[in-house]
């Protein structure tokens, strides 16, 4: 498998006045093509900051980030904008869509931005929206779509332009459980099918059942990386909502090691 995204001791320090916050502290992670990663952790643990740096929206204070051969800390503003446009697919928590563009136009916007707007790519946009179950909403404005439908349009937009990395920040925050499952499920399928590197920030651990790897952060640091299928499923099913504070790191580690011993076959099969 090809490593698409790699960070090495990435650190982000916010300084406002004499207040210094180490929001991300020496994080080293990697994501492969076709791998869907869940970034979890309590509120304030640095997930969004991490995502912002991966998206070239924020400069790291220290360490390095590499995506698809690009060294993010070496780019200027214009290069970063272009990088986001070409290499990154985005799904945000809210305000995802341009309100005066239809579902189809919102997806096509990414093609226009990248000057890839042609008959073939437009057909792709339609196909993708069909795939996401929006065949009869192509010409609806965002205000005429439900929250789940809007997020599915955003997912289509995040994938249409052949990005290397797809980033999602709490994409299910405004959705009920059923819709959240639908949305993330299909998101995961598409990431796997299209062989993208995907990272989803979520505080809803149940959504982890769709990911291939869980990275847990606490206080800016990575405390745990779970790659075994069974351990991930265990984590996803054991938690109601993920906002349990710091001790979370420990109970998660236990089942992981337990499972690794108890079900080596299963873990092996999953990997």
């Amino acid at each position: 498998m090809k490593t698409i995204l790699e960070t090495n001791n990435v650190t982000k320090i916010y300084e406002s006045g004499n207040l210094v916050v180490k929001a991300v502290d020496a994080v080293s992670i990697s994501v492969q093509a076709g791998e869907f990663v869940g970034l979890v952790g309590p509120s304030g643990s640095g997930k969004t900051t991490m995502l912002a740096m991966l998206a070239a929206l924020l400069q790291a204070s220290d360490g390095s980030l590499k995506i698809d051969g690009y060294n993010l800390s070496e780019m200027n503003d214009i290069e970063r904008t272009r990088f986001r446009r070409e290499k990154i697919g985005f799904t945000f928590q809210s305000n995802n869509l341009v309100p005066y563009l239809t579902a189809l136009e919102n997806v096509e916007l990414m093609l226009r931005l990248n000057k890839k707007y042609n008959r073939k790519s437009r057909q792709h946009a339609r196909d993708l929206l069909l795939r996401l179950g929006l065949e009869d909403r192509l010409d609806s404005l965002p205000s005429q779509l439900s929250g789940g439908q809007q997020q599915r349009v955003a997912i289509a937009r995040s994938l249409i332009h052949d990005p290397s990395v797809v980033l999602a920040d709490e994409p299910t925050a405004s959705l009920d459980t059923e819709r959240a499952n639908q949305v993330v499920g299909i998101f995961a399928d598409l990431i796997h099918e299209q062989n993208r590197a995907g990272i989803m920030v979520t505080h809803d651990l149940r959504m982890c059942k769709y990911v291939d790897k869980v990275i847990q952060m606490v206080d800016g640091r990575v405390t745990n990386i779970i790659t075994e299928r069974a351990a991930i499923d265990q984590l996803a099913s054991s938690s109601k909502l993920a906002e349990a504070p710091a001790p979370k790191a420990k109970p998660v580690q236990q089942p992981q090691s337990l499972l690794a011993h108890a079900m080596p076959n299963l873990v092996g099969a999953a990997g």
């Binding site: 969004t48 900051t49 995502l51 912002a52 998206a55 929206l57 924020l58 214009i78 904008t81 272009r82 990088f83 986001r84 446009r85 070409e86 990154i88 985005f90 945000f92 928590q93 809210s94 305000n95 995802n96 341009v98 309100p99 005066y100 563009l101 136009e105 916007l109 990414m110 226009r112 931005l113 990248n114 404005l141 937009r157 920040d169």
Partner: protein
């Protein structure tokens, strides 16, 4: 990209943008009417002087360039005529009379202007013939009067004036028709100076041998570029006169400056209102779109494109509004009676249109700055 975004947004919010264009259209109508009125009033005041075939005007000393107060005697005319550099001189007399028409048209109050045939101050005839004889009772009439009363060359008009306590009537034959030459808010009727002296309203008719006293002299120079020097020279050499060029004269007319500055203030304030209204609208609009602009930048829209989209919208809405307002003004102008002193062809109106087109971009500057400053990090709620 910028064009696509801005026009999609306008199209999907047609109602809002249309409403806003209408506000700009109304401001345009207001500004154009103010400008047109300014132009119209100014021209009603100065049309004759503006078109006069002279470089300098001579007034009696200490009359403040007032054609009505100034009285010059024949001696002055003779002196001025002699000076080197002076090509030609004509004496002019002004008074107000009413003219009646034999064809039943409504009487009109006019400026009765006495001129010396063939001399500076005498108008050209665009139909018929210019004044020739010093003593014939012929007249050249303002094109406006001809239009209004349906006059032809060869027709007869009757001038009604007051001589002492009596109304007197004088018949004049129309020898020619000139273009619009209003003076003091009235269209003009030109007669030979001696006829003017005979028929002009007089309070005292006992003294029949009173000398002819024109109000002003119009001077044509051999070298018009030297008018300031020659004017100063003449003033110092000839007793009891003051000299002004054409512009100085009409600007000194009673009320002219006050009127124009009042109208200019109105125009200025209307522009200011326009700038503030447009500025306010686009600023609120941009503030409402901060999250959306952040998202657009996050997914890779350049700052450039975001700013261009905003500028295009502002320009489009402004042009649309000004065009609608301009057309509405034009429509209304056709419905106005010709006696309303509004002129939409002057440079003041042209300048107003250009300025109106600028209020959009000027008012919108703040909103563009706002849009440029939105951080793409906004998309992540940071």
């Amino acid at each position: 990209m910028a064009a696509y975004l801005s026009f999609k947004e306008i199209w999907r919010n047609k109602g809002r943008y249309l409403l806003f264009s209408m506000v700009i259209a109304l401001i345009t109508v207001l500004v154009l009417f103010t400008a047109g009125l300014g132009e119209g009033l100014a021209s009603a005041n100065k049309e004759y002087l503006e078109k006069i075939n002279a470089d300098l005007l001579v007034f009696q000393e200490d009359t403040g360039f007032s054609t009505l107060e100034s009285r010059l005697d024949y001696n002055t005319l003779k002196q001025v005529r002699r000076w080197e550099g002076v090509a030609d001189v004509g004496a002019i007399g002004f008074s107000n009379v009413t003219i009646l028409f034999t064809n039943g048209a409504e009487p009109i109050d006019v400026s009765l202007i006495g001129v010396e045939p063939g001399k500076p101050g005498a108008p050209p005839a665009f139909e018929g013939e210019a004044l020739r004889s010093k003593q014939s009772k012929t007249t050249i009439v303002d094109g406006r009067i001809a239009g209004q009363a349906n006059l032809q060359v060869g027709d007869t008009v009757v001038v009604k004036t007051t001589q002492g306590a009596e109304d007197e009537f004088y018949e004049l034959k129309v020898s020619g028709i000139t273009d619009g030459r209003q003076y003091f808010f009235q269209p003009s009727v030109f007669v030979p100076l001696e006829i003017w002296d005979e028929i002009r309203p007089k309070a005292d008719i006992t003294n029949n041998n009173a000398p002819l006293l024109p109000n002003i002299l119009a001077i044509q120079l051999q070298n018009p570029a030297a008018k300031i020097e020659i004017g100063q020279y003449l003033e110092s050499r000839v007793d009891n006169i003051e000299i002004a060029d054409i512009k100085t004269t009409y600007e000194a007319a009673p009320g002219y400056a006050e009127q124009q500055s009042t109208l200019n203030t109105m125009k200025g304030f209307t522009f200011l209102i326009g700038v503030l209204v447009i500025g306010g609208f686009f600023q609120i609009q941009t503030l409402q779109k901060v999250a959306q602009i952040g998202m657009l930048k996050a997914i890779g829209t350049s700052n450039h494109a975001v700013a261009n989209a905003a500028i295009l919208q502002i320009i489009f809405v402004t042009i649309f509004g000004v065009a609608i307002g301009g057309l509405a003004t034009l429509g209304m102008a056709f419905g106005l009676p010709s006696s309303v002193p509004i002129v939409f062809t002057g440079t003041a109106v042209l300048i107003a249109v250009v300025a109106l087109l600028l209020i959009g971009p000027i008012g919108g500057l703040v909103s563009i700055r706002l849009a440029l400053k939105v951080e793409p990090l906004r998309a992540l709620g940071m």
